[in-house]
């Protein structure tokens, strides 16, 4: 599937910003099932210096520096992306069992497995805990195929947690999300990552977009989409495989990847340092995912 994504981020400051330095993760990366055909970053006011590079995780990082005074910052990222499905032949009821997977992860000397262990360790925003392990445990019987167990966990999170945009912020700790049983896609992704790591399976955070289809008979509203987040789990035999707990599914052609990392911290869409700016800037984000041809 081919998509055009238009991602507009707008900051309104209460006071003038004299200059600023920013780092954006808004350029879709290339992956096995996805190719970024074109990308254009527009920054207003115009940057005095920009640089795009591949970061540690292979994502595209975009740096820009504004040296002129401003009260409004607008970043428009436009990308054309071609996506494919995940491996089509995958049957969740076969494959390596949970016990075998843990065994291999602990003892295999295969480089790919050794490097996957990076995603088992606590990361800035996801710390494995006994609570998370207790929550996850019922899905992971030793002789159950790993991916089927992960799908079961995905399903449980979808069923047992309420989607509620007002209930959490970026600073809400995972324990509280677990207690409240409420959150948004980033919380659910972090939650499932924490569960998987607590059980001993490597998991990473994926940020991107999801094509949303309008209800039958209605026209799609421009800008009504939003950035999205899900996760990817590592199976020693199948490799990385993506699940979306917010939508109770494994990831499809409609999931467009921007970047991945250990958690949100590694792939924050926009961060930086501003000089001046006053208190509490107003942030407005709009995303539009449309099919091409």
């Amino acid at each position: 599937m081919r998509y055009r994504i238009k991602h507009i981020t707008e900051y309104l400051y209460s006071d003038r910003v004299s200059h600023c330095y920013n780092l954006a993760h808004m350029i879709p990366r290339n992956t096995l099932r996805q190719k970024c055909l074109r990308n254009d970053m527009q920054v207003n006011p115009v940057s005095s210096h920009t640089m795009a590079r591949e970061d540690y995780f292979g994502n595209m990082a975009y740096h820009f520096e504004i040296q002129r005074s401003h009260k409004k910052l607008v970043i428009t990222a436009t990308s054309d992306v071609e996506t494919g499905p995940q491996r089509s032949s995958l049957n969740l009821d076969f494959g390596i069992t949970c016990a075998q997977a843990r065994e291999q992860l602990a003892h295999s000397r295969q480089p790919e497995l050794l490097f996957a262990r990076e995603f088992l360790i606590d990361s800035p925003m996801v710390k494995a805990s006994d609570e998370l392990r207790e929550y996850a445990e019922p899905s992971f019987e030793d002789d159950r195929p790993l991916l089927s167990a992960v799908m079961d966990l995905t399903h449980r999170i979808y069923k047992e947690f309420t989607y509620s945009p007002q209930s959490t912020t970026i600073a809400t700790p995972l324990e509280e999300v677990l207690r409240q049983r409420k959150g948004v896609c980033q919380d659910f992704a972090h939650l499932q990552i924490g569960c998987l790591r607590a059980m001993g399976y490597p998991a990473k955070y994926v940020s991107g977009y999801l094509e949303t289809l309008p209800p039958p008979g209605q026209e799609k509203l421009v800008g009504a989409d939003a950035s999205h987040a899900w996760l990817s789990v590592y199976s020693p035999t199948e490799g990385w495989f993506e699940f979306d707990p917010t939508n109770d599914c494994f990831v499809s052609e409609q999931h467009i990847i921007t970047a991945w990392g250990r958690d949100f911290f590694d792939v924050t869409p926009l961060k930086g340092v501003i000089f001046g700016g006053g208190k509490e800037p107003a942030l407005h984000v709009s995303v539009d995912v449309s099919r091409l041809g």
Partner: protein, 849 residues
């Protein structure tokens, strides 16, 4: 425990003689109790010197350290003085034959750490091949993912390597820890050496001690060679600031190497380069020797709450347009877990095992090691793998049963975050304590700098000794003393090459490009010094007048006291009538209360702060005077304790003298660069302002003849003009001749017009954007305006009074004051760096579905 004391000979007990403790390894004696020959020579020399001379030399050493401003951990509160660096005068001796082995071991170790650093931020072959467990790297907070792929030009990634060495149980030196971010101590080692060579010149010469200077020359040339820009590279030393515990060393090294000392606010990233903010605008920076921890260096990509870093620094590094030593991310090498795997790491990277052993390390992230640690806690030191983490190292033998149980729980919960090492008995060194030479456990920090295709090791290093014979922790944080470390050559050395004196290297930092922060500090140093001086002079005068033979009228007392309030700006002060009736308390407050803004004490502390911030530009004589001021300040309370009746003016004299010495030195011994100019501008401005205020307070109000005489005398006294007045006029006090002397007479160095003429000279020389035009700059115009105001004044108009005050004098002084304020603002706006506060830009909400 049996104390078999071994002595070098039968000496009287009151002599300087060393008794080793029989229970521990001793550096002086071999296993059989025989003294090493190099030690015998040294200890005999100390014996010949005798205890009294030794104590004298110790005093001398302390004086030198103090005069050099050698401190560790500068005062956290302005009232408590900074800690002078502690140097024990008995050096640590190492024979060159033993050192040869240690040195090659250290070189080899630095090479391995260099290769390790390259691998960890490059291909990570060691993970791929399973030499290092993935968790040891990926779980360490010092592994900075944004630093992946960053490369310095040349073979070396690791430029400086510091290693703490301890005498192991087998009698050989072994490595306790590595310091790979910004190893501190090399500057202190150099200062120790400088002091030792001055305190024991012949002892030092006769012992054939290897010199340190070449190490610093190699550091200097290596740093310069890292520059991406071959044309006159600019190297700076980045310090967290004057409050950092090792700030002395930062300033000392910067000075010795001839580099600028900068703080994060002095640097800015623009258009892909790093720039230093100078008087002359922005000037490009090519190399940064950093003393800021790597996590704090860039708030955009590393710790976003850091105020010590430079936004976007990392992306300039990545583009190869600035080089940082040690590179950002090198802190990961300090992870002690790597020591456990070091033999295999060395085999993989270097093809052989290391000659210099490390202390055993047990990593709790390894199941077997964890079991061992849990079972043997009482004989181990437990350390967090990341320095600056929430936990400090603990000595297991000092833990109670309960604490041990708590630690066991913690280790089971976070096994990967801790290592354990056996508790080692350090080798003991003779150390001067309680007028004797006593054994103290010792540690040696050695330093390596990248050189050629390998590393060059400082011959010696920084030795530190425990506070007590049985001390476990040896660090400056717990008050350990340091020692110079002498590598004793068996053959005479060719000493012609290098001298260790700091003046040996040329300072080529161009003077116009001083960081504007430094210049601002000098400006304020001048202002605060002058402000304190005028207040002191006025207060001294007031004290004298109050205790004079003739009683003063109440009116006169009031005017004098209100002048004190006006000059020190300590409102409401004596405008409060109740205080006028019993002024003592308030007067003492205005002198000595640091909490009272405007008091002499608070101005002097502010001046001392500015001096610390621009320390690297002050001569050693100036630093000595600064120390005198600091001392006089601490003695002030005692001097004033007798109250107003016991000649309190005398308590102020030492401070006035010290301040005079300071301005004299600035005049006589400072290079006429922009720093000097700004300090002088500060002084002149402040003196003009203060003089204006004093005249205004004492002479505007119309008073009876007798009172007026007292006030005129006070005015002249406090402006140091009474003697000139008497010599010149031989007559009774007259308002017009007084005003002439203090306002218009340019031969009086304290007159207003003299200050303005000097200001005019300085301002003319300041850098300006369009030097080609003859048009005056706004500052020059303001100075000219002030000068003209005085020059066009007429004495008879100034002295005339109407309705109880001298109206013309009043309005002249008031507009002069306004103009002086304008000059100060114009200078500050144009030349000083106005730091804006920065904040993080993050969304505080999740980005929707």
């Amino acid at each position: 425990m049996t104390q078999t004391s071994r002595q070098i000979s039968n000496l009287r007990p009151d002599e300087l003689v060393y008794h080793a403790s029989g229970s521990a390894k001793d550096e002086v004696f071999d296993a059989k109790g025989n003294i090493h020959s190099h030690w015998e020579r040294l200890l005999n020399s100390f014996h010949a010197l005798g205890p009294a001379t030794f104590a004298d030399r110790l005093d001398k050493a302390r004086r030198i350290l103090r005069d050099d401003g050698a401190t560790y951990n500068i005062y956290s509160h302005p009232k408590s003085p900074s800690n002078t660096w502690e140097l024990d005068l008995v050096p640590s001796l190492i024979s060159s034959s033993e050192w040869g082995k240690v040195e090659s071991g250290l070189q080899e170790r630095a090479e391995v750490f260099n290769l390790l650093l390259k691998d960890l931020y490059g291909p990570r072959e060691l993970i791929r091949q399973g030499v290092i467990p993935a968790e040891a790297l990926f779980g360490h907070r010092g592994f900075l993912r944004p630093c992946h792929g960053i490369k310095l030009p040349g073979e070396h990634q690791l430029i400086l390597h510091g290693v703490d060495l301890i005498r192991g149980d087998d009698g050989k030196m072994c490595v306790l820890t590595d310091r790979t971010q910004s190893p501190s101590g090399a500057g202190y080692a150099l200062e120790n050496r400088t002091v030792m060579s001055r305190v024991f010149p012949s002892l030092y010469r006769n012992n054939q001690v290897h010199r340190l200077a070449s190490f610093f020359q190699q550091l200097r040339s290596k740093l310069t060679a890292l520059s991406p820009n071959q044309d006159q590279p600019r190297v700076v030393v980045l310090t967290p600031g004057a409050h950092n515990e090792t700030y002395f060393e930062h300033a000392y090294l910067a000075n010795y190497l001839g580099f600028h000392l900068v703080q994060s606010g002095d640097l800015v990233v623009r258009n892909g380069y790093v720039w230093m903010k100078t008087l002359d605008g922005l000037s490009r920076v090519d190399v940064i020797l950093r003393r800021v921890d790597d996590l704090f260096c860039d708030p955009v990509e590393l710790r976003s709450d850091s105020q010590l870093g430079v936004a976007n620094l990392l992306s300039v590094v990545r583009a190869g347009r600035v080089a940082i030593a040690n590179p950002l991310g090198s802190g990961v090498l300090e992870n002690p877990v790597f020591l456990k795997y070091l033999p295999q790491i060395a085999k993989t990277l270097l093809g052989r095992e290391l000659r210099l052993a490390s202390v055993n390390n047990y990593w709790c992230g390894d199941e077997q090691d964890l079991a061992y640690v849990l079972d043997n806690m009482a004989s181990l030191v437990i350390k967090p793998t990341f320095r600056g983490a929430d936990y400090k190292s603990v000595n297991g033998s000092l833990l109670t049963q309960e604490q041990q149980a708590e630690w066991r729980t913690l280790l089971r919960q976070q096994p990967q975050q801790f290592v354990a090492q056996p508790i080692l008995q350090a080798g003991q060194l003779p150390t001067y304590a309680d007028h004797q030479l006593q054994p103290r456990p010792s540690l040696l920090r050695s330093f390596a700098v990248a050189h050629g295709s390998s590393y060059s090791i400082m011959p010696g290093g920084l030795t530190r000794v425990g506070v007590q014979e049985t001390s476990f922790e040896i660090s400056n944080q717990v008050g350990s003393k340091s020692k110079d470390t002498w590598i004793i050559s068996s053959e005479p050395l060719d000493q012609s090459d290098y001298s260790d004196s700091p003046s040996a290297t040329v300072r080529d930092a161009d003077l116009i490009s001083l960081p504007s922060r430094v210049v601002e500090n000098l400006f304020w140093m001048g202002r605060y010094a002058e402000r304190a001086e005028s207040s002191l002079r006025l207060l001294r005068t007031v004290f004298m007048m109050f205790n004079g033979e003739e009683p003063m009228s109440e009116n006169c007392q009031r005017i004098l006291l209100q002048a004190v309030t006006a000059v020190t700006a300590t409102q409401p002060g004596f405008n409060d009538m109740a205080l006028l009736r019993s002024p003592e308390q308030e007067l003492l407050r205005v002198v000595g209360d640091n909490e009272c803004s405007g008091s002499v004490c608070s101005n002097l502390n502010a001046m001392l702060y500015c001096a610390d911030e621009s320390k690297e530009l002050l001569s050693s004589d100036t630093l000595r005077v600064i120390n005198d001021i600091r001392d006089a300040l601490t003695e002030l309370d005692a001097g004033l304790s007798g109250g107003l009746t016991s000649a309190p003016e005398e308590a102020l004299d030492p401070l006035v003298t010290a301040l005079m010495a300071l301005s004299g030195l600035a005049h006589e011994s400072m290079t006429r660069d922009f720093g000097w100019r700004f300090m002088n501008i500060g002084r002149r401005l402040e003196r003009a302002l203060q003089t204006t205020t004093i005249i205004n307070s004492l002479l505007v109000e119309e008073t009876a003849e007798a009172d007026q005489n007292v006030l005129l005398q006070s005015l002249l006294l406090s402006l140091e003009a009474l003697i000139s007045y008497r010599r010149r006029y031989h007559a009774a006090m007259g308002v017009q001749s007084c005003l002439d002397l203090v306002m218009m007479d340019t031969s009086n160095p304290r007159s207003l017009l003299h200050q303005l003429e000097q200001l005019s000279e300085h301002v003319k020389m300041l850098p300006r954007a369009s030097a080609s035009h003859h048009e005056l700059s706004p500052k020059q115009r303001a100075v000219l305006q002030a000068e003209t105001l005085i020059k066009l004044s007429l004495l008879n108009e100034l002295s005339a009074h109407k309705d109880g005050e001298r109206q013309q004098l009043k309005s002249t002084l008031e507009s002069l004051k306004l103009t002086l304020g304008t000059i100060s603002n114009l200078i500050s706006d144009k030349y000083f760096n106005h730091r804006e506060t920065s904040q993080q830009l993050v969304s505080n909400i999740w980005g929707g579905e």
